[in-house]
């Protein structure tokens, strides 16, 4: 785990926020942040490397029931939550609502 929070770009912070808001899937995050898939997917990988997010695959049962392949989804970790808090302090202009923090 990183010892201190490396500086994150605004796009990455937005993605963290989207995760915090309960959007685990790539396309949902794309819609919420307005960023393209070419930005979102690598950023999610990076967040996972940093330990701010964790990735899992949907349970097969759910996917089979809906007749589609299982998707990979991301959740915010505790470290990710604190990184998001630090980002809010660094960029007050973002005005991120305090109630949105916390893991699922």
């Amino acid at each position: 785990m990183p010892l201190r929070h490396p500086r994150l770009g605004l796009g990455t912070i937005a993605i963290l926020q989207a995760l915090a808001d309960g959007r685990p899937f790539g396309f949902d995050i794309m819609e919420a942040t307005g960023l393209t898939s070419g930005t979102v997917y690598p950023a999610l990988e990076r967040l996972e490397d940093l330990g701010y997010a964790r990735s899992r695959w949907e349970p097969d049962a759910v996917a089979q029931r809906e007749g589609r392949p299982a998707r990979r989804y991301f959740t915010l970790t505790r470290d990710g939550a604190s990184a998001l808090a630090a980002a809010r302090e660094r960029y007050p202009v973002l005005g991120l609502p305090a109630a949105r923090f916390g893991t699922r």
Binding site: G26, F27, S37, G38, T39, Y41, P42, E58, R68
Partner: protein, 888 residues
Amino acid sequence: MTPRARLGPLVRLVLGLAALLTPRDERRAWRRQWEADLAFHATRLDRLGASGMNRIALVGHSLGAFPHGWWLRSRRWRRGAMMADFRDARRSIVRRPAFTAMAVLVLGLGLGANATVFSWLDAVVLHPIPGVPDASSLVVVRARTPARGDLSLSYPEFADIRAGRPPGLADLAAHRLEAMTMQIGGEPEQVWGEIVTGTYFDVLRVPPAIGRTFLPEEDRTPGTHPVLVVSHALWRTRLGADPNVVGRTLVVNGRPFEVIGVADEGFRGAVPGLALDVWVPMMMQQVVVRGDRLSESSRGSGWLTGIGRLAADASFEGVAADLDRVGRRISEAHGHTPGRTVDVRRLRNSTLGAIGLLGPALLVTMGAVAIVLLVVCANLAGLLVARAIARGREMSIRLALGATRRRVIRLWMVESLLLATLGGAAAMVLAVWTSGLLPFFIPPMSLPVAIAPEVSTRLVGFTLALTLLTAMLIALLPALQGLRAAGIPLLREGWHISPGSSRVRQGLVILQVALSLVLVTTAALFARSLENAGRVDLGFSTRQALLGAVDLQRAGYDMPRGRQFYRDLLQQIRAVPGVESVTLANDLPVCGCGGSQTSVTIDGYEPRAGEEMVVGFNRVAPGYFETLGTPIVRGRALTDRDTPETPLAAVINEAMARRYWGGRDPIGGRIRIGDRAVQVVGVTTTGKYDTLGEAPQPMMFFSLFQFYDSDAAVIVRTAGTPAAFAAAVRQVARHVDPNVPVFNVRTLDEHLATARFLPRMAASLLGALAGLALLLTVIGVYGVVALFVVQRQREIGVRVALGAAPGDVVRALTIRGLAIAGAGIAIGSAGSIVVARLIDSQLIGVSGRDLQAHGLGAGLLAVCVCAASWWPARRAARVNPADALRAE
């Protein structure tokens, strides 16, 4: 429809292409992720309707797969295997400082030597003429006959060649190196320059920095336009960087010349290796060089070198063929030696200046240092193989934990690359430091030598490439051996006995022995050559003598006054106490300058078909043979009685007498030179006239008073240390005429040292390199045998315990060492013979196949290898069998 099919062909294509970017082992999961997400999105879009737009949007989203895949791959690089390998390599290198230091040192020396010699080769042969663009399209044009190549051109000959040149040769100029006396306010001083034809600067594409270069009308009529161009350096240092230098008058050889321009900075003339200061037009020839060398009657005297430039799309071979035809046509039309034609070569293949003097020696040196580097590589590879075996356990663990064989090899490559890179860095430092040493390898000459090897991008590129090659060479074998060792099942700790690796290391040592033998034999050949150089019968006495030179042309002397000067000078020097005898000569013996030749016809001798009647000659003053100590065996020497009024006389040497008169008495024979007839009055012994290694050649000696020349060397035989007489001789000359300085005063020993310089240099340099290679080889042999002993410790212990005498053990191991030596010597001898043939031309008095040298080399190597294997063998014999059996 399957979920994948629902994505549509375009999206599937995009994903397929992007998948190629993704690291292989992550590909399936990655593809699943994308297909799942896209499928979900596609379904949702379909449910919302407007499917046409949806398709496009979907493709747009899928394009993000490319950066994602790329990101994953670059992450692999960043934190993946390569970095881990690098960290591992760095750690293992740091953990063994002694080995690393030795390896880096040895690599640095090997690579550094190669880089240094390359920089020298670059300066002398590859980029010999600074300041000239596109030197690769330059060609050197001289003449050749069936018997000899590389002959000078006469001016009429040059003019005809230029007039008839093929379109492939864009233009042709001629030049000749000359020393001149220049007066720049005050004392006359010696400057070196060239006498050149009008298009010289155009052919070389050297622009003037100030003013202009020569015009066509300045190249047309002799004596009409006394103009000259000076070098940038001369303008800066001696003319005060005067911005109004154009139009200034400089006195050269007593005549006033007008400065019309200053050459581009960085251009120092077209003689490789020299820095020249002034260029005078050909039409002013009579001021600079004695005699008429421009008119038709001078067609037989060659003194110029042509330099030309190929046209843009011309092929060298085509131009050479065309020029050959032109040359033959000219030579037939004017009744030259049959078969005389043009000798055209690329600049780097010519013998011009330093290229001819140093080129062959540098090539030999380059070969030698390359061999040393190979020995270094073989040596290090052997050591690394031993390391690889030792790390076999570590490797098998890695393999067991899932590393691929490719990764293990890569690990080794990175380590070798790191070692090689450190060595390469050390090499660059060494090269920068030693490339400045080239001047030490140039024989002392009175010419303005200026060769400056520089650290160029070419040098850096060469060193880099060589470093990479070295890294691969030393990495491959250890890597493969390491893998093999890793494959052996781990049964117990301790040494793995893998016969394969033992054979590989022995093979490497055999290679080192072979390469070292080649170097040692070559060094031995050069050493013998040097020995011969010292013992060669020069044909004259080398006792104390003082040499000097005078040039009456520069002081504006004509023939009668010149002769009188010579007479006065000889008389006055003779009067100096301690002077035993004094004489003059146009060419000094063993001058290395080529001497003078002329075509002759000899009464009573019919030349064979294709035989060239060209003989060397020297113009000497009375007392020459006496002063030099060359005996006259028949007839008489040249004396005071040989004057312009008496019949022309010549003394010939025994080689000439034998060739043209056979057993008959040559005295009284007549030699015709041009329209003059000379009578043979005496015969002298045959000596060396040009180089120490020359074959015996015919030679004629004329009286300097009958065949006047304004250039003369003074030879003074002294009764004490010659150097002590230098001042007296100079003073005498000043007394005769203060405007004629005696320059280049040196002792005969110093003069001969120049002649012996190159053989001495070659012998020492090669000796040093051979010694280095031999040392490495001995260390290599020792290492192999020592390791063998350690590996076989138990076996040796068992044998001794069962009653084998220690002597048997030693013998067995020494025999193994002999076997290695034998194999290496056999291979090396074959190599030596090949190499020796290549250097045959460089040797004096010994052929490349000299048995003594080859035998000495083989013997030396055999002794060294046996000693290197006997030492560890002795230690093995002293092993306590009980300890050996207990040891693991």
